[in-house]
Amino acid sequence: MSTPMSASIEVGAATARPQAPTGFWRRALRHRSFVIGGTLSLMVLGAALLSLVWTPWSAYEIDVASKLRPPSAAHWLGTDVLGRDIVSLLLVGARSTIMVGIIAVGIGITFGVSLGLLAAARKGWTEEIIMRMSDFTFAFPAVLSAIMLAAVAGPGMVTSITAIGIFQIPTLVRLTRGSANAIWAREFVLAARASGKGGFRITIEHVLPNVLPILIVQATIQFALAILAEAALSYLGLGTQPPQPSWGRMLNDAQTLLFQSPMLAVYPGAAIAIAVLGLNLLGDGLRDLLDPRLARER
């Protein structure tokens, strides 16, 4: 049932209509920001997947003779300062961007949300310790820690992802704990306790579903921040290592040539913007769709 549906979001609402999908997907396909956000996100995902099997040129092949070419039939968006094909770089760069985003936000969500929920559920010393530790991480400059981590583990994608992930944690701990505390004060939690439920089950069944909409929106923002952080770390030579391309690196390489060939900065910038915008809209849509109060049938 859901297999044809998931395939059809790519194409959008228009083609999906005649199949009359039901429930979640029917509402999802009518939700404008979910459809637009989903399409943009799938474009980025599609680019990353495509780069695994095909790119117009090799993203690693340097051809200094044809450097800084304007767009042409051979190079659709031109070439960079080393003569590499921009389209190929963007396609391959999408891979590292998605990887950094998903893994770093994954680390942040996994630890941040569980610690935040734990702090809200247990209160007392547990909460104090978690919050002070998160303050400590928060107060430490992220770049400094990334340098430290790079000194120990060596620079590279794994190091930068780990560092970015760790710095997602405190934000998410704070957000989760704050929202979870507000839910714990609600009467339905008292009612759940009155029906005999323990802290763990209340957290999973009552608190988490109610903080999820906030977390989804925040996760899309964190994803955007992770992409930008990866760009910054790449610039310092701590992130993705050459010749591995990433959108952040492309942006930084373009910086020195801003007056000569400004378009070199525009392409990766636009790619980042599309990814971030797509995720934000997707998150917005998802938040609406997951809220039963907004799930009006007609």
Binding site: K123, G124, R186, E187, F188, L190, A191, A192, R193, A194, S195, G196, K197, G198, R201, E205, H206, P209, N210, D291, P292, R293
Partner: protein, 337 residues
């Protein structure tokens, strides 16, 4: 474990609750004692902040961790004060249940009502999801939710306030508890719905032989729905007895004040409601003597010296007042006024 017929189902002895408030420790409840037999109904009446709800939460073991509870609460002879949260969890929703004041917020907006009614069953009995669902539909049907089988998968926002309160009642009754605590169950509802909900609760209590503690600030609700009542003020029980006895022979000046303050049908236009002068004392700095002393018309010096003892004015009717001779004489006037 279940006690003999003579053992009261619930026995509260000298219950004291100290809460930590922003203004320092507050003795929210002092020396509250009562017992409740199987099938008996008890009303708790008093103004906001008099300790009614705190007493109810203490019975449920749901006070904040910082609260200090002294005295004893026994359910079927076994002590509940100091019980671990895990063990308390086995009683809550199973043997003691509670209905809350605000049906709009007492249900989780993210879950269907069927799931929420089935939850206590899943928690306390070994029934499967399908059985729990069937039972939930039967319960929703019993509490008078129209078209229960069809609406079991609807979300709380799709119901009216009265319907939601029916759902919370179904939730509370799911495991056939021995004791039902109803904390102002109709305060948030329309007057037209109030009667229906109270009738429903009273019917279910009688049908299942449950004991009920009904908390309300509405004397009318108390008069019609419980056999015995306690009037609370400033964390103490100022008067307790059979509902009839308390209403006909109000022994405490506070009870009389409450009675005079209620609006009446047929009062002449322009008649002002009587009020009790003064305000409820802050729990953080309660007077050492009678808590009502500052607002009492017949106060004497000895009222302020120490908390008055309970005087039995008739069998099972106790009044915490040193001046029952005067107040009882005036009681006639209060009813007439």
């Amino acid at each position: 474990m279940s006690g003999s017929i003579n053992t009261p189902l619930i026995e509260v002895r000298d219950l004291g609750i100290r809460l930590n408030t922003s203004r320092g420790p507050a003795q929210a409840v002092r020396g509250v004692s009562f017992s409740l037999k199987r099938g008996e109904t008890l009303g708790l009446v008093g103004e906001s902040g008099c300790g009614k709800s705190v007493t109810a939460l203490a019975l449920m073991g749901l006070l904040p961790d910082s609260a200090v509870v002294s005295g004893s609460i026994r359910l079927d002879g076994s002590e509940l004060v100091g019980l671990s949260d895990a063990n308390y969890g086995k009683l809550r929703g199973n043997r003691i249940s509670m209905i809350f004041q605000e049906p709009m917020t007492a249900l989780n907006p993210m879950h269907t009502i069927g799931r929420q009614v089935a939850e206590p069953l899943r928690r306390h009995t070994n029934c499967s999801a399908a059985e729990a669902r069937k039972e939930a539909i039967a319960l929703l049907d019993r509490v008078g939710l129209p078209d229960a089988a069809k609406r079991v998968d609807a979300y709380p926002h799709q119901f009216s306030g009265g319907q939601r309160q029916r759902v919370t009642i179904a939730m509370a009754l799911a495991c056939q508890p021995d004791v039902l605590i109803a904390d102002e169950p109709t305060t948030a509802l329309d007057v037209t719905i109030q009667g229906q909900i109270l009738d429903l609760i009273a019917g279910l209590v009688a049908e299942r032989g449950m004991s009920m503690i009904l908390i309300s600030h509405d004397l009318g609700v108390i008069a019609e729905n419980v056999q015995r009542m306690m009037v609370m003020y400033g964390g103490t029980v100022v008067e307790s007895g059979a509902t009839n006895a308390v209403f006909t022979r109000m022994g405490h000046p506070y009870t009389q004040g409450l009675f005079r303050a209620r609006p009446r049908l047929g009062a002449r236009k322009g008649t002002r409601l009587q009020t009790i002068a003064g305000t409820v004392p802050e729990l953080a700095d309660l007077p050492s003597g009678c808590t009502f002393a500052d607002r009492c018309a017949i106060v004497e010096d000895r009222c302020r010296m120490a908390l008055p003892a309970v005087v039995d004015v008739s069998a099972g009717h106790g009044v915490r007042c040193v001046r029952t001779d005067v107040s009882m004489a005036e009681a006639v006037g209060a009813v007439g006024a």
